[in-house]
């Protein structure tokens, strides 16, 4: 039954995403989902392998293919229909509502990161939008000078120095990594909604799906364009999601220090001079 399966899904997540990931990785080893690490005798390939940091790439690509099917046949059509049929104010209310629901998680992580100013903004937003905004349906706070931002435990871990680890393409959740996967599980445990909705799997499913459809609808053109123009959509997505995640962790502050050093490469880069791998 769907209900039982969903219950199992959430239970697995909240009892430890780490377990699930470890199982996956063992499975990956057994099923050949691991990328072949190039031998030491091929330094070019080996350096590339290390920089890419995607040791279970075949397994990731498998999940990516499955997700792409779900996206093509279910999620994207739903998102397109949603986008086309509903007026903008309604869609904005949906977004507002879900953003508001995420407040406890954002607030907790603002505090964990010592971001007091942002914590204040989060609290103010919640107060304004839940009351005057009727349960979060109207975002009065943004135009009042309290812009929206989101935080999660993965970002908190990153801020405290935890590296991301290898690339993971998770079923349903998409581009991620061990640190952020654990973060997601932690957030689920921290979120009061998890407990409020315990036993109401149908409601939880509807909320999760509507949120996903709304988010998907806001990325239709962007993702279409990337897919159209990319020579390897999976690899592009990997690079984009990592860069975007690093930007999120820095809260949008520019980081020009870790840019690749161009003076070292001179029309045909010298292998002896390695550019900094972009990892976060």
């Amino acid at each position: 039954m769907i209900r039982d399966r969903l219950h199992l899904f959430w239970a697995t997540l909240s009892r430890g995403a780490l377990n699930a990931i470890l199982v996956c990785m063992c499975g990956a080893v057994l099923l050949g989902g691991c990328a072949t690490r190039p031998p030491e005798s091929d330094p070019v390939a080996l350096a590339e392998y290390k920089e890419t940091n995607d040791p279970i790439e075949p397994l990731n690509r498998y999940f990516f293919a499955i997700n792409s099917l779900i996206d093509a046949f279910v999620l994207k059509p739903a998102a397109v229909l949603y986008d086309w049929s509903l007026p903008k104010p309604v869609k904005n209310s949906v977004r507002s509502f879900f953003n508001n629901l995420e407040t406890p998680v954002t607030l907790a992580n603002d505090i964990f990161q010592g971001e007091w100013g942002r914590a204040k903004t989060t609290t103010t937003r919640f107060a304004i939008n839940t009351t005057a905004g009727i349960g979060g349906l109207i975002d009065w706070a943004s135009p009042m000078g309290y812009p929206y931002h989101s935080e999660d435990f993965g970002q908190t871990l990153a801020v405290h120095g935890v590296g991301s680890g290898p690339y993971l393409y998770l079923p349903v959740l998409g581009p991620s990594n061990p640190r952020d996967g654990i973060g997601y599980a932690a957030d689920t445990m921290m979120n009061p909604m998890t407990y409020v909705l315990r036993g109401h799997d149908k409601v939880r499913f509807i909320l999760f799906t509507s949120n996903a459809i709304d988010r998907r609808s806001r990325a239709i053109e962007v993702l279409d364009e990337i897919e159209r123009s990319s020579v390897d959509y999976y690899a592009s997505l990997r690079s984009l999601s990592r860069q975007r995640r690093a930007d999120e962790i820095r809260n949008g502050k520019p980081d020009f220090e870790s840019l690749p050093d161009l003076s070292a490469s001179n029309y045909g880069s010298d292998d002896a001079v390695e550019e900094e791998p972009k990892k976060m």
């Binding site: 390939a45 020579v231 390897d232 690079s239 984009l240 930007d247 029309y267």
Partner: protein, 223 residues
Amino acid sequence: MIKGKNISALLSLGMLIAASLFLSAPARAEISSQGAQDFVKSVTDRTLDVLRDKSLSPAKQDKQFSQIVRESLAFKKVGMWALGRYAKTATPAQIQEYLEILDEYIVRVYLSRLRSLSNEKILVTGTQSVGNDIIVLSRVEFPATGRPPVNINWRLVYENGAYKIFDVQALGIWMAQEQRAAFASVISKNNNDVGALIKVLRTKITAPEASVNAANDVKKSAQ
């Protein structure tokens, strides 16, 4: 009395002063900063002019936009950088072919990615030095829709007395870095053969969708 010798001395002094005025530069950082900002401003202004010109046919718009991109981008440098370590293993013929196709490819990618910001205000806000290069900071504002502004950063290189764009960053993502990762993936999956990448690039540039107005029509119908 002013004699020939004095005149020539005066002239020399005059020339020396003039020369020092023209040739002496304030600290390199200052000149680069203003020049870099002006360059980005001129590129974005020209682009906006083309995209806002209703009298131009779509084909002509594409052509003019391509022209601007070709003039402003450090094509060869970006191309060789994007190949990364595979540049060493490619044959000169492959490199030649790659650079020719990349030219067209990059124009199309920039066309479709930046056209979504075409109708908005772009404000150049400052610069920052990184090594020998310079980064120009700018911001796109959306006064019509009230969408929060997006920061766009331009990494410029200075070649032969002219500024050229090396990379563009929007929403935290550097475009050339993303392309480099995708290129490396294609090459490494095909036994480090650059020819495979060339083949894929060729399919991308013959695709009909990458035109300014095609993308705009999609955007309009989605609103």
